[in-house]
């Protein structure tokens, strides 16, 4: 491990030195002047950030890439063998036999498909609702934003009590008033993911509301006035003025919410534990790598996730850019 680290370090130093020499050689052509003293000061000031970034950002990424092709077992760091694509073979094997990984992918997709439209839609509606002058709308804005302040883990524990099985849970006791029998919301495969979707949308949509609001504040008032002079009703105003004005905000939000949703881990981890009906890809990755200590297998899943998320993000950017 130390040897690999040193090799990677050497490659990076060589790459950097190469760039430095190239920059120095072409300095005259680019009409750039470098002073030795100020360059050395610059390097020294960069040093802490570069060392930390190398150790804690770059190295983990590169190792994750590399481990994906090995049989690294966490407790045997000196016995790492390349097994090339066996991890990925296992990946598809488990998919075929509908093992935990199959459930993880299914649940993650369910979550993404459920939470992305719900959270963004709620955020947009709430922002349109509070986007007006007056003290009332300001108070409503604070109320809608309040769940964002509560961290994801606190949210999970709070909803664990709300959705608690038996008659002690808030939801069950309220439903009990209307004569419904208590339901075990989080252990029932049919209701567990929908519950997690709802609480995640509840927790997150205030944040989206705020970003949409900053987008709305950039739309010029005259456009609305011009539209009303043309006799546009509230719907036409939305489609002709608000929606085009929010496009770039919307692209930003859809990509960040999508990436965040793909990474869901906290809610199932704290609320249900490692169960087939709520396990997600990130959770599977964590469990494989940390609890079961199969870093190789875990890294392979991470690599596939990176490619998937990166690909979808690129497609989303392409789609929304072309429509401009």
């Amino acid at each position: 491990m130390l040897r690999t680290t040193l090799i990677i370090l050497a490659i990076f130093v060589a790459l950097f030195v190469g760039f430095v020499i190239y920059d120095l050689k072409t300095a005259k052509r680019r009409r750039e002047t470098y002073r030795t003293k100020s360059s050395i000061t610059a390097y020294l000031m960069l040093l802490p950030a570069v060392i930390l970034a190398f150790l804690f950002i770059l190295l983990p990424i590169l190792y994750s890439l590399g481990y994906a092709f090995t049989d690294y077992y966490l407790l045997k760091p000196n016995d790492i063998n390349f097994i090339w694509f066996d991890n990925f073979k296992n990946f598809f094997e488990e998919l075929k036999t509908k093992g935990t990984l199959y459930n993880a992918i299914k649940n993650t997709l369910t979550f993404v498909v459920g939470v992305v439209p719900l959270q963004i839609g709620l955020g947009l509606l709430l922002s349109l609702f509070v986007n007006r002058p007056g003290i009332g709308s300001k108070i409503f804005k604070v109320c809608f934003f309040a769940p964002v302040v509560i961290s994801l883990s606190v949210t999970s524990f709070l909803w664990l009590q709300i959705l608690a099985a038996g008659e002690n849970g808030l939801l069950n006791s309220l439903l009990g008033v209307f004569g419904f029998p208590p339901h075990d919301w989080l252990r029932d495969p049919k209701t567990a993911m929908p519950c997690i979707i709802v609480l995640s949308a509840w927790q997150g949509c205030g944040y989206q509301m705020l970003i949409f609001l900053s987008g709305l504040s950039n739309i010029r008032k005259e456009l609305y006035e011009a539209a009303s002079l043309d006799g546009a009703n509230i719907w036409r105003k939305f489609w002709l003025v608000t929606w085009p004005g929010l496009r770039s905000t919307f692209v930003y939000i859809i990509i960040t919410v999508f990436i965040g949703a793909c990474r869901i881990l906290t809610q199932p981890m704290l609320m249900t534990g490692y169960q087939d009906h709520t396990v997600t890809l990130s959770y599977y990755m964590y469990q494989q790598g940390y609890t079961f200590r199969w870093v190789g297998q875990s890294s392979a899943v991470a690599l596939i996730m990176t490619i998937f998320i990166g690909g979808i993000t690129l497609i989303q950017r392409r789609i929304f850019r072309e429509k401009k």
Binding site: V149, I150, L152, V154, L174, S282
Partner: protein
């Protein structure tokens, strides 16, 4: 255009009558209040339950008093808070969290501020490679490398009990996005400030400390606030790195990680769980209220992440 001409426009619609407007206002506020209650009901429930003993919680089940504090026993309303703070050591965990956050904020601002200053203001060979890497690391969504990070830190520190705190703090002190934020901000500071200081005989580090940093209070505050929220809310990484204390010595866990253990304690009441959740949320709530301006600024610049 005078009034008459406007009224003759084909699509002219007269202003709504005052009565109609009032009705609209009332409807708006009623809808708003209902929506707010729907959004707040879990929080109200949490606040109300935190004041109740197990028996009065059970007594209120299924009625409106689930959302009201325990007025019948005003004297013992804060018993749960006292109990979790003292019996479950929450105050120690909270102190840990504050300590970690403080160290991370100071180091984060220094490390990333220095790097941002160099990227914004200094010329040196090899700069283009570094700016390319910054952009690359920001734009590409890299899936959690937390497992490799764990193996690196574990091997680096050997996971000795006392060293693990360093393992919690150090990875949080570097943030590529903060370097980017600092660079953006420093680029907006006019050159004249620095030149004046240089004429007075300051070196680069002196300019950074005496001129740039005092001018950069807004961005430092934004970075500090987000650092604090990040460290305070992180539970996963500390839970992997830190040992949970069971020998009676001072625990090392931060509050969010400790919450996981506290939930599982035997004999803990619903009211105590709720008070522990509220105590955990209070500092973040205070930060959001006190540093609203900087948080909104942070949201604004978050859009730059694209």
């Amino acid at each position: 255009m005078d009034k008459k001409a406007i009224q003759q426009l084909p699509n002219f619609r007269p202003n709504k009558t005052p009565v109609k407007k009032t009705v609209k206002e009332v409807v708006y506020h009623v809808v708003g209040i209902v929506l707010s209650l729907i959004f707040l009901f879990p929080i109200i429930y949490m606040l109300a339950t935190s004041t109740k003993s197990e028996s009065s919680y059970a007594a209120g089940l299924g009625s409106l008093s689930m959302f009201l504090p325990d007025f019948a026993n005003v004297g013992t309303m804060f018993e749960n808070y006292k109990s979790v703070l003292v019996n479950y050591d929450i105050w120690k965990y909270a102190l840990n969290s504050f300590l970690y956050a403080a160290i991370v904020i100071v180091l984060n601002v220094i490390v990333n501020g220095l790097a941002g200053y160099v990227m914004a203001k200094l010329r040196f060979p090899g700069k283009r490679l570094l700016s390319f890497m910054i952009i690359f690391l920001i734009v590409v969504p890299v899936e959690t490398s937390i497992i490799p990070l764990y193996s690196i830190v574990k091997i680096m520190l050997g996971l000795k009990q006392q060293m693990t705190v360093i393992g919690v703090i150090l990875p949080a002190t570097i943030s590529i996005f903060n370097i980017f934020l600092f660079t953006q901000f420093f680029e907006g500071i006019p050159k004249e400030y620095e030149e004046a200081a240089r004429i007075d005989g300051s070196n680069t580090l002196g300019v950074f400390a005496k001129v740039i940093m005092p001018l950069s209070k807004p961005i430092i505050a934004t970075v500090a606030v987000f650092c604090f929220i990040g460290v305070w809310n992180d539970y996963l990484w500390p839970s992997m790195i830190l040992p949970s204390a069971d020998d009676g010595s001072w625990p090392l866990l931060p509050i969010q990680t400790a919450l996981m253990d506290i939930q599982k304690q035997e004999g803990i009441t619903t009211g105590e769980i709720m008070s522990s959740l509220i105590i955990t949320s209070i500092p973040i709530f205070v930060i959001y209220v006190a540093a609203q301006k900087y948080i909104v600024q942070g949201f604004g610049t978050a859009g730059l992440k694209m």
